[in-house]
Amino acid sequence: MNEELTPEIISEFYRTKFPLDKFMAFIGLSDFKNREFGFVVGENRFIRNISFENTKELREFMATKSVKHAYVGAVYEQSPSRYSPIQKIKWKFREFIYDIDINDFDLVRTCGCQGYSYCTDCWSLVQDTVLFIDETMRQDFGFTDIIWLFSGRRGVHGWIKDKITNNFDQAQRVAILNYLTMVHDQKRTQTIEEIPNEAKPLRDRIYSIIAKSYLLNSSEESLVEIGIAKKKAKDIIQRVKTSSEFDAQTYNLIIPSNQTVRNKLSHEIILKRYPRIDRKVTMDTRRVSRMPYSIHGNTGQLAVVIKDIKSFYPDSAPNVWDALK
């Protein structure tokens, strides 16, 4: 962190630099009055059930209170407030959101990083996850309006903004999540689901994006351990490094046809590198999530839009001090 994140700095940022127009373009102009906001203010007090008449009020609130963290939630039929809290008013819609955090991979990070620390090795897990989900959303589900945001610390949020997703109920959201999930109970037993037969695009995507990274990060010895002959293992790694286009077909071609070996290998691939998602965030249509372009109160970094995840690293993200320079 550069310097201390003082209330004055926060206030100045929200007064002069916070891109209100961009934020509004992000969440859409309609129903602003009925949108729930949440903030961390003062000595870490979390407040919810807040709404604003207009964007001026929103800016004013964030600046005068020097909010440490800012969150945006769902839209309701009425304006949420202390007197009509969200439990008591009718839910109207919510974007479809993914939350991906590096520490969701703690059980399988082999580089030595834990918690909030990261290196380029383990950050690639987050990068692959984003690529995998992005492609699944576009190809399989036909969504087109997808934005990835930096969470401000060690994760990213995916917002699927296609209109149709707004009205999805929890059952529909859970169904999409279940479709994506291959590692169950990911913080404890890490049970791996069998690779699906019918969901072919999903399966092919595992054999391209995920398998490629896995093999690139593998040593000959680890492949031998799975049951692949030494010469073949060397060959595989060579092929992965040199092939420009690695897809499911390539995978099927270079991996030995022995079924036991194949099963073992795909199990390892999924366990070690398959996307891990915080399900609660996606399921819960009343949850608030970090406000795009706002400051992360612990790091001073900004929740900016990620243009290209392949070249994005948390440390390179802009922070509030840069913004105020």
Binding site: Q139, G142, M283
Partner: protein, 453 residues
């Protein structure tokens, strides 16, 4: 003479499909009742009759068959609409019949038309239509074949081939299939084998038919002649529903209602807790829900006088009835439950399966959002992780339509105990098990024993 009015159909549906608009049909009342009767008899016998037009039949004769089919069902629908308890029965038997016919039909177009009607024309496409639209060849691109992955003995060869064919449905219409990864997804279209959607389709049909039944009550209300016509039919179904399908006997589940369970509200299953809350808030319940709550309370040991008091206090005191007035009017149904009026039958509370089909099951009928909110509030003293993982599990199970298993998972969060069979079968089972867990002397001993250590 009763006339069933017609709307023009946009797509051609099979003649066995009872949600189909009937077209212009004229029947006289005597025949009409006969058709309904025949239909009931077939339901009783479990005879899954198929309507396929035989080649030798004349147009007029075929019309009669159709009128019997659609008209007979229509009368049953009207009759059931006046009594929520029996509409559950009708939904169940019509659902089974529908499933059988849908699966055994050998006309693929017929299936597609039914699906288009159920899910909306814009949400269903043939693979050919999808190929044309996206300018691709799905079969080639994904190396698909229509050969079944495993053997199915139940259906004829022609049927079987059909079942393994694929169609495309918008993914959000069939969440449980998406959830189980049983579909190939392409741009929001779930390309799926017919055999994989049978249960989902049945559920959708049941949902729609129970809505239609609810709506038909209006016809009966508006037309007193009609109300008279349906009376004998209603009576017949009521008798039937009483004797056969409804009110599962507790001995089926290997336990009997314990006498004091009713004193412990924290042991009530979530469906009952909800009914009590609604009763408190709104002051009344639907007739059918009265029945569910009433039979439940009786079965967990609440004496009739206590129950009369309970209803009086929770539901009606704000209406200004005195207790005596109450007993004379609303108390009738409760005395009925205890066999003190009417036919003197000692009624049993419905099994979970019956609740799911026609009464109120928390997991089948409440919105997932509200269930997770409820859980957070009710179990706020438990560890957050535990709550989150339970909500997660429960929602996964619910989207796969396994409501009784969801209830067992809820039970586990509630009590820490695992139900061995993996599902709750009866509301009373839920309560007696929870009672055992929290209130039997054995358990108390164990607790005090722990203190002494």
């Amino acid at each position: 003479m009763t006339e069933i009015r017609n709307n023009n159909m946009s797509i051609e549906l099979p003649d066995w499909y009872v949600l189909k608009e009937p077209g212009e049909i004229t029947v006289d009342v005597k025949n009409w009742i006969e058709y309904a009767d025949t239909r009931i008899d077939r339901f009783i016998k479990g005879d899954p009759w198929i309507i396929n037009r035989p080649t030798w039949i004349s147009d007029e004769d075929w019309e009669i068959v159709k009128v019997q089919e659609i008209g007979g069902h229509f009368l049953l629908r009207l009759s059931a609409s006046t009594n929520q308890r029996i509409s559950g029965w009708l939904v169940e038997v019509e659902g089974d019949l529908f499933e059988f016919r849908f699966m055994s039909s050998i006309n693929f177009d017929e299936k597609i038309n039914v699906l288009k009607d159920l899910y909306g024309e814009e949400n269903v496409k043939t693979i050919q239509e999808l190929n044309d639209f996206y300018q691709i060849n799905l079969y080639r691109q994904f190396n698909l074949s229509d050969v079944p992955g495993r053997r199915v003995r139940k259906y004829s060869d022609a049927t079987r081939r059909d079942l393994y064919k694929r169609i495309a449905i918008r993914f959000n219409k069939i969440p449980s299939v998406i959830s189980a990864k049983k579909a190939l997804l392409y741009k929001g279209w779930a390309v799926v084998r017919i055999s994989e959607i049978r249960l989902t389709v049945k559920r959708e049909f049941e949902k729609q038919i129970s809505e239609v039944i609810k709506k038909s009550a209006v016809f009966v209300d508006e037309d007193s002649n009609l109300a008279d016509t349906i009376k004998p039919v209603t009576q017949k179904i009521t008798e039937l529903a009483k004797s056969k399908r409804m009110g599962g006997s507790l001995s089926d589940f290997g336990f009997a209602g314990s006498k004091e369970v009713y004193t412990q509200v924290d042991c009530y299953p979530p469906c009952i807790l909800d009914l009590v809350t609604i009763l408190r808030d709104k002051g009344h319940l639907a007739h059918i829900e009265n029945w569910q709550l009433g039979t439940f309370l009786k079965e967990v040991g609440m004496p009739i006088d206590d129950q009369l008091k309970f209803w009086y206090q929770t539901s009606v005191d704000n209406v200004g009835l005195t207790f005596d007035e109450f007993i004379n009017r609303i108390g009738y149904q409760i005395r009925h439950i205890y066999g003190q009026t009417g036919g003197g039958i000692d009624y049993r509370s419905p099994k979970c399966k019956t609740c799911i089909d026609g009464y109120y099951c928390y997991f089948a009928h409440k919105k997932l959002e509200d269930i997770s909110e409820d859980i957070k509030i009710r179990f706020k003293d438990k560890k957050e992780e535990m709550i989150d993982s339970s909500i997660d599990d429960i929602s996964k199970i619910i989207v796969n339509n396994r409501f009784q298993s969801a209830c067992a998972r809820y039970f586990k969060l509630h009590t820490g105990w695992t139900i061995r069979s993996g599902r709750i079968n009866h509301m009373v089972q839920y309560s007696t098990q929870a009672y055992k867990r929290f209130h039997t002397s054995k358990d108390k001993e164990k607790q005090s024993g722990e203190k002494n250590e």
